[in-house]
Symmetry: C2
Subunit: 249 residues, 2 copies
DNA sequence: CTATAGCTTTGACAGGGATCAAGTGACGCA
DNA sequence: TGCGTCACTTGATCCCTGTCAAAGCTATAG
């Protein structure tokens, strides 16, 4: 599959995902009031979104993956957060970490709402308020899991953990235990997310491929012949499953 | 000062801190309604607090430091969060990370409220609702800073960052640029917080002491002759200041 | 006061990951 | 078709940090 075809099919997935989310989201249905109160924005890879404490904007990810990255020092970056489909991002909560950006990891789509408008919706609709609260609360465990991953696992374990996370969250089940999934992050971004060097990450990926737990699909796409084999490589498997797993996983 | 005297004076600080917080908190005044709705609990070092998603409890730290730690694997721990005076901790947001505990890092004091009661207060008093929201929102940047510290800084930089954090948050200014502050975490806990080995941490602390940026105070207490010298050791100084610094810093 | 366990410090050593460098392949542009 | 750019891969090397071990120190119990 050429890159162009792949982009197109990704585009298809994007619009399909948006409509599916509007009808009934995979995880918890996105309220129609929110969908109709905002504007859909299509994002190209690496496109930045306005993200400061001053203007109070809220983004709802409808397709693709967003990332928040920061530059703790010149020539170094750290991705502190990933946002998947269904996640809410509010710029008011942005930190004053140096060089902080909210950008699309790959082709993505968001719904933009003003914070003021969302607040108004929450005030008049209690069910929306609780939906928003629940949405934001669900992000806390993910951040803690991320920290525990970066802080206490070896390089290989970190990579395996992230692959399991992707397989569970955006993967599609194939025959037996195999899973296919997009790789929404570039190698560099993935390295920054896992607090690894890009070179080291590449080596680890090669090792996993040689070991047979990771197969090469097309570019920007990965698959694992056996999810349990991949899962066995991370000590945090149970936690990842409970944080990122769907009902089917 | 003997250990016994020190403990006693620490106890004095605890009760004084609680009353000070009740009167007017150092950062943002704790609403009287919350103070009178809960129960004060004195905590011994290493004392665990009930912390599960099932029973919805809320703790307000009135003195000392609480820590949330987890065991990503057997014989390894990672402290994912620190709570200082004035911070709210709600057990409902507890993750299902393996072996997760909320414990007092050292002698501490909390106000315990049931989540139900706090919700009722928030419903009837809008100013309390916004105080709580603001309190929780302030914790987001701290977690991101923590992740950036662990993920992208060297061992020495991490330690320096944490020392600056302590100096700014709980330190007392001395002559010139010197600062004295409690060390609320044991070496082991500090190592787990910074994702370092306890041995390595000890080595780094010794190095800092030899370099003269860290002086030897009594046990459980530290001081730096020059806060700027310490600050120069971390590339995240500005962020730490904006997240942990008081108006006076 | 003593015994014991836990915490901290320090040394020797090995290993994992960072760094530097070169090479390969894919894509966009002329 | 050729070229420049960028992302990715792979190798060689170095150093920071983890591991293991031993000793000193502190606190708590008896």
């Amino acid at each position: 599959m050429s890159m162009r075809e792949q982009m197109r099919s990704l585009g298809d997935r994007v619009t399909k995902a948006a409509t599916a989310a509007m009808a009934e989201g995979a995880r918890s249905a996105i309220p129609n009031e929110i969908m109709s109160a905002g504007v859909i924005i299509a994002l190209r890879p690496r496109q930045r979104l306005a993200f400061s404490r001053e203007e109070d904007l809220v983004y709802l990810v409808t397709a693709g993956v967003l990332e928040v990255d920061t530059a703790p020092r010149p020539n170094a970056r750290q991705i502190v957060d990933l946002y998947y489909r269904g996640d809410l991002v509010r710029s008011r909560y942005a930190t004053n970490l140096p060089g902080m950006n909210l950008i699309a990891a790959s082709r993505a789509e968001v719904l933009r709402i003003s914070g003021r408008k969302l607040d108004a919706l929450m005030a008049t609709h209690p069910e929306i308020a609780s939906w928003v609260d629940c949405n934001l609360a669900r992000q806390v465990p993910r951040r803690q899991l991320h920290l525990a991953t970066v802080g206490s696992l070896s390089g290989e374990e970190r990579v395996a953990s992230f692959l399991v996370e992707l397989a569970l969250r955006i993967g599609e089940a194939g025959y037996e235990n195999s899973r296919t999934f997009d790789m929404p992050l570039s190698r560099t971004d993935m390295a920054h997310y896992l607090a690894l060097n890009a070179d080291t990450l590449s080596r680890i990926m090669s090792r996993l491929r040689q070991a047979g737990v990771l197969g090469t699909a097309s570019r920007g796409r990965a698959y694992t012949p056996s999810l349990p084999a991949l899962t066995a490589l991370t000590p945090l498997a149970d936690t990842i499953r409970s944080v990122h797993g769907t009902g089917t996983a």
